[in-house]
Symmetry: C2
Subunit: 77 residues, 2 copies
């Protein structure tokens, strides 16, 4: 029982990867909502499980129009 330290690489087993995705997705959305409320800001979270395929989307109360422009950039910090 309990857990091991997770290695930061792609999970090869498909079902394990799916389970991890499901768990971490909900955790991530929860965190995003918390920071949105606590810090009074808008946040968008877009997940693609495959090229061009939307999997999840989450935002604050509103989503500002220029978010589109933001995503026209292709940066990764």
């Amino acid at each position: 029982m309990g857990r091991k330290k997770v290695e930061m690489k792609r999970i090869e087993n498909k079902s394990s990867r799916q389970v991890t995705f499901s768990k971490r997705r909900s955790g991530l959305i929860k965190k995003a909502r918390e920071i949105s409320v606590l810090c009074d800001l808008q946040i968008a979270l877009v997940v693609f499980s495959a090229p061009g395929r939307l999997n999840e989307f989450c935002a604050g109360d509103r989503l500002y129009k220029d978010s589109k422009a933001v995503l026209e950039q292709n940066c990764c910090q």
Copy 2:
């Protein structure tokens, strides 16, 4: 020392709110990157600290073109 349970509402004190934002933002980005690697998917994280004002942006290796279309929607799950 240590910490109390955090109440889920806007932090009124400006500097405390800024500190919390800074800490949680880095945590959120870390989590986003982890799920991106572990589950082999693309993710975008857009934060607006004020209307129309980009504060942070993070994605996976690539960001697909139709992410723009996604953000044209105005939903909040």
